[in-house]
């Protein structure tokens, strides 16, 4: 079908994304060789010189010349970055200076020895991590690598060369390289070079040849290097075919599931899985199913599994930890969920009759997984040896130093169980002694069986087996003929013994399973309720500070660690929080580490591969696309943070925090948008108001003025006068309007500076009334000022404007000739000035709306005014710390009153020299 021939759109998208990501990143070129001395550094320097000749900005970040003359000669004329000097235990180590390189920003940088381990105290433990950062910064990197340092070949090379290499590079780095140049030299030539002293210094050469540079080794290594390179070429070919949409490639993608357990084979399984996945170009998942039995394993073994899972992650696998009593069921469920096509696991541990009787996971899987191919990996050693090797590996690899701690409390409980087992047997013996002679002997055995069952249900397998053995011995010794001897005359008691043992085992296993399931259930429930409590608290948090406090408290409770949440400032720099710390807060955090975490969206700090020397662990808090902040956590115990289930819990916590923060930010944004919309609405009403109110007078002015200007003498003198008057009046009206708009704008912008002084209320009222002069003619304006009104501290010009605006409104909206009353009243701490009229009053419910901007009781009427008079009043009174309101009078008319506080001490009382008058 034609549809099948079309490239899968998802795959195409992925390819485009990959290309874009690559375009931003720097390009990595690896000079790859089978062993030291094949000339990688030499080839790299040659390439660098060529680039230099092309006028590219090439610098040497760090190159190990091993004092080889030819190589040193090539360094001439290239800019070399000075190395960072680190003092470590008395010696000075030269290390690559990552920060200097990032600051210098060349287009190409040479950094030798990809597999190098950095000196303690460096930002990253490994050089390949430094290089990743260079690439992220968009700098092209040339580096060199020997095949024995590839993580997935670690095992094979260990077997070939008989030594283990501890400096490894994850395969992902090698695979992600944009270019790999194989530097090849036949073993004989290499050995010749060695003998000539061209590779190492002469005194080191012999030693090296004996240890590593055996011809057999070199041939094997060369083969591995060639094959690895060929793999890459293969992959490139596939890419090319994908790019060119060659149809055959579009097959169902494979997914491999690697199942590991707490045994030494696990690491080999993971490495084999890796190679398998690479050869199939498939996704791979490493799963560990923790059954109740496995949960009872000592901590060291569980930690070992954890470590293998981390290795798998480094090799590019997705890791999953499941907790389930039935291993095969859990594996099958995961396999069907994730469309797994192949399962890899170790050979079954149960052999012979046990496998037949109790079954094995492998058999169940083979029986039930119909569409899945199953691959089994055999162990090359005997189990004990494998165990030893694992332990050795644990000691040498200090990836998670804090994880190897054993629990003492558990040990104590253990001994207590045996004590109880002995006790139970004793009590059974006493009871049996009392019953002896009165009941049948088989019933006495029942008493012991009861004791064994009780011990089994309470203390588990060990003590119950102990109790059953002890019980059988006691039973045999005291109650079976011949008495006081372990000899068993009647073989039927062997059946009693066997049954007791079997019951003990059965019950202890059952109860242990039930208990561990109950424990798991309780644990899950506790976790669920914790998450529920935290999400509830976070949902209730109304501010960033509250979210942070809630989060810090919950994390402290769960992880027992003081912690701190850091946010960036406006410039993206992580800063210390402004908020006061709570007891659960971490007091010290390394801002530079936090900054790194924030910039790279990766965790760092203790127990991680970035800056592991730092005391705390730093986790990015991201909402899926952007990093919002950083959680710094000071772990009391790394296990509590890095166990898979704990990590998942922490990840959930972080996600909850991120969600809460995002919610808050959205809420803030929504509020801002609402405010903006309100402002927008206001602006619109201003525009419509202004356009109406300014255009109306302008129409009159333009019309009248043009009539006057084009007059050819036909206008009568009284007409001319009329037109001029109209122009004058309308211009006046516009002038008032413009002043009001400007006043409002200045008040809104907070540009008004008050010139407050002490004024008599009378003078303010007087000034306004004088100004209105003629306009109040024909009206009775009553001023009622009780004696003893104190001076008020105000900006008189503005308060006069308040009064003037009120008066203007009164004159405009009340019938001509109706009386007005201005009054002032004092209370203990304020003065109220009011203007009362006998007009139509204020429509019900509009008392407050009147003071809103651009509000008019009747829209678009001929009455002028933009509806700014009262808002200006309110704004002025407000800046004086007072308030204004309007209400209707009981007997008709309206009252507008404003209150000014008397909050300043009055000025000095005058000594009136002429008080006598």
């Amino acid at each position: 079908m034609a549809a099948n021939e079309r490239p899968n759109p998802d795959a195409l998208l992925a390819r485009v994304a990959r290309k874009q990501a690559k375009a931003r990143r720097g390009r990595l070129k690896i000079f790859f060789g089978a062993a030291a001395g094949v000339g990688k550094t030499y080839a790299m320097l040659l390439a660098a010189r060529e680039r230099r000749a092309e006028n590219l900005d090439v610098i040497v970040g760090l190159v190990e010349t091993h004092e080889r003359a030819e190589t040193k000669a090539l360094l001439e004329g290239l800019e070399v970055l000075p190395p960072r000097q680190i003092e470590y235990r008395g010696t000075v180590l030269r290390e690559f200076d990552l920060d200097a390189a990032l600051k210098r920003r060349p287009s190409i940088i040479l950094v030798d020895e990809l597999a190098h381990t950095n000196a303690p105290g460096s930002r990253h433990p490994k050089r390949w991590q430094d290089i990743e950062e260079l690439l992220d910064a968009g700098i092209d990197v040339y580096t060199a690598l020997n095949v024995q340092h590839l993580e997935s070949l670690n095992d094979d090379i260990g077997q070939i060369a008989g030594i283990r290499i501890w400096e490894t590079v994850p395969d992902t780095v090698f695979e992600a390289a944009d270019e790999v140049e194989l530097v090849d030299l036949p073993p004989d030539e290499l050995l010749l070079r060695l003998k000539e002293g061209k590779v190492y210094l002469p005194q080191q050469a012999q030693e090296a040849i004996r240890n590593f540079f055996r011809k057999g080794n070199l041939i094997a290594l060369r083969e591995l290097a060639l094959r690895q390179t060929a793999h890459r070429v293969d992959a490139q070919m596939l890419d090319y075919r994908e790019d060119n949409a060659i149809r055959e490639v579009w097959q169902v993608s494979e997914r491999i599931l690697v199942c590991i357990g707490p045994y030494a084979l696990a690491e080999r399984l993971v490495r084999a899985g890796k190679r398998f996945a690479v050869s199939l170009r498939a996704d791979w998942i490493v799963v560990y199913v923790e059954t109740p039995e496995l949960q009872r394993l000592p901590a060291e073994k569980r930690d070992a599994v954890l470590k293998v899972l981390r290795i798998a992650e480094q090799l590019g696998a997705e890791t999953v930890t499941l907790s389930s009593p039935a291993m095969s069921e859990a594996i099958l469920k995961l396999a069907s969920e994730r469309n797994v096509t192949k399962i890899m696991m170790g050979k079954p541990s149960r052999r012979g009759w046990r496998r037949f009787a109790l079954g094995s996971v492998v058999d169940t899987l083979i029986a039930e997984a119909h569409n899945i191919n199953i691959y089994l990996l055999g162990s090359p050693h005997k189990p004990e040896e494998a165990e030893d090797e694992l332990r050795l590996a644990e000691r040498r690899r200090d990836v998670l130093p804090g994880l190897l701690q054993r629990s003492k409390a558990r040990k104590q409980g253990y001994y207590l169980g045996y004590l109880w087992a002995a006790g139970a047997t004793l009590i059974s013996a006493v009871l049996a002694k009392l019953m002896h002679g009165r009941f049948e002997q088989s019933n006495l055995a029942m008493v012991f069986l009861l004791g064994v069952a009780l011990v089994a249900s309470r203390f588990g397998r060990g003590p119950s087996v102990f109790a059953s053995v002890l019980g059988v011995l006691v039973f045999d010794f005291f109650f079976v003929t011949p008495y006081h001897s372990f000899a068993v005359s009647d073989t039927q008691y062997l059946i009693t013994l066997g049954a007791m043992l079997a019951v003990a085992m059965l019950i202890s296993n059952l109860t242990a399973n039930v208990r561990s399931q109950a424990k798991v259930a309780a644990h899950r429930e506790r976790r669920a309720s914790m998450l529920y409590a935290m999400s509830k608290d976070l949902a209730a948090a109304a501010s960033e500070g509250e979210i942070v406090r809630t989060a810090v408290r919950h994390i402290y409770v769960e992880f027992g660690s003081q912690n701190l949440i850091l946010f960036p400032d406006a410039h993206g720099r992580i800063v210390y929080p402004q908020e006061e710390s709570i007891p659960e807060s971490l007091r010290q955090a390394d801002l530079s580490v936090a900054q790194w975490v924030f910039d790279h969206n990766e965790l760092a700090g203790q127990g991680t591969t970035t800056l592991p020397g730092t005391k705390a662990v730093y986790f990015p808090i991201d909402d899926g696309s952007t990093v919002l902040g950083v959680l710094a956590l000071n772990p009391v115990n790394l296990r509590r943070v890095f166990l898979p289930e704990q990590q998942k819990l922490l990840a959930t916590f972080l996600r909850l925090i991120a969600q809460a923060l995002t919610r808050l930010r959205f809420a803030d944004q929504a509020k801002k948008v609402a405010l903006q919309a309100e402002a927008e609405g206001l602006r619109n009403s201003l525009l419509s108001s202004i356009s109406h109110d300014l255009r109306t007078p302008l129409a009159t002015i333009v019309g009248s003025a043009s009539t006057l200007a084009e007059d050819d003498g036909s206008l009568k003198p009284e007409d001319r006068k009329e037109l001029s008057r109209a122009i004058y009046d309308e211009a006046r009206r516009m002038s008032n309007l413009v002043s009001n708009i400007l006043d409002m704008a200045r008040l809104d912008a907070g540009m008004i500076r008050l010139h407050r002084e002490w004024y008599p209320v009378e003078e303010i009222i007087g000034t306004v009334l004088t100004r209105f002069g003629k306009q109040t003619a024909g009206r009775e304006v009553k001023v009622a000022l009780p004696p003893g009104i104190p001076l008020i501290y105000c900006d008189a010009v503005m308060i006069e404007q308040v009064l003037a605006n009120l008066l203007e409104n009164a004159l405009r909206y009340t019938p001509a000739g109706s009386p007005l009353e201005i009054a002032a009243e004092t209370s203990a701490d304020s003065v109220e000035i009011s203007l009362a009229d006998r007009g139509p009053g204020i429509p019900e419910g509009l008392e407050n709306r009147l003071f809103e901007k651009f509000y008019r009781v009747r829209e678009e009427t001929a009455q002028s005014g933009v509806g700014l008079g009262l808002p200006i009043c309110r704004a002025i009174v407000a800046v004086h710390g007072g308030s204004i309101r309007a209400h209707n009078r009981a007997d008709g008319g309206a009252v507008f009153a404003f209150v000014l506080p008397l909050d300043q001490p009055p000025p000095d009382v005058l000594q009136d020299e002429g008080a006598a008058s």
Binding site: L769, E913, G914
Partner: protein, 231 residues
């Protein structure tokens, strides 16, 4: 017109306003000289021997207050200020610097002519009312020689300070006096910041002289600037 025309210098940078002032003033019998900058205005005032200066405070080349000071350096000719609204501080500064009066834009011709006449009357020396040592306006009569004040036929008793305050206002009747100017003349240069003294005495005076102190007829307030006695 047999009498010599009064000569007015208009210092204003806005051409339409200059045109309006020239037309309006010339129609009312004044001779008008225009100046678009402060510098030119000061020179014109000097060489043309002007009778009055109309000065816009917002000039492009120099501060209006500086123009006032420059003119006051050699002449007592009346200066009428034109200013935008809500610029009380500028007005006070100009008045304190020696300007005689001010008008707020926009203004009508009637207002302008009235102010010009008052200013010219002041400049022509003593106003008629004070020539005989007696000032009177409306019902208010002040005998400056005997220091007696009458409202109609009724004599009003004033305290010394109240009288001094009234006398200062009478002396500059019709002209706006800033708070500082009044304080300085009545209480002396040490008290020029204590404007509330002045307001309290003003209030007392109004209670004694005005029929309705809340709607004064004689002792008027120039909001935010000062007081003046209406002629």
């Amino acid at each position: 017109m047999t009498t010599l025309k009064f000569k007015i210098i208009v210092i204003e940078d806005d051409p339409p306003i200059r045109r309006f002032l020239r037309t309006a003033l010339e129609t009312h019998g004044f001779e008008v000289v225009e100046a678009a900058t402060g510098k030119q205005g000061v020179i014109e005032a000097k060489i043309r021997k002007a009778d009055l200066v109309i000065l816009d405070l917002g000039l492009p080349d120099m501060d209006g207050v500086e123009v006032v000071k420059a003119i006051r350096a050699w002449s007592e000719m009346p200066i009428l200020i034109l200013s935008a609204r809500s610029a009380e501080i500028q007005k006070i500064e100009a008045l304190d610097a020696g300007a005689d009066d001010y008008l707020t834009k926009p203004f009508g011709l009637g207002e302008l002519l009235a102010r010009i006449r008052v200013a010219l009357r002041h400049a022509s020396g003593t106003s008629e009312q004070t020539q005989a040592g007696v000032f009177s306006t409306g019902n208010l009569k002040v005998d400056l020689i005997n220091r007696r004040v009458f409202n109609g036929d009724r004599e009003i008793h004033l305290t010394p300070i109240q009288y001094r305050l009234l006398a200062v206002l009478v002396k500059h009747a019709g002209k706006i006096l800033t708070h500082r100017q009044i304080l300085k003349e009545v209480w002396g240069p040490d008290c020029i910041e204590s404007a509330h003294y002045l307001r309290i005495y003003m209030s007392q005076l109004r209670h004694k002289l005005e029929a309705d102190p809340a709607q004064p007829q004689y002792l008027l307030t120039e909001s935010g600037v000062g007081y003046w006695l209406k002629v």
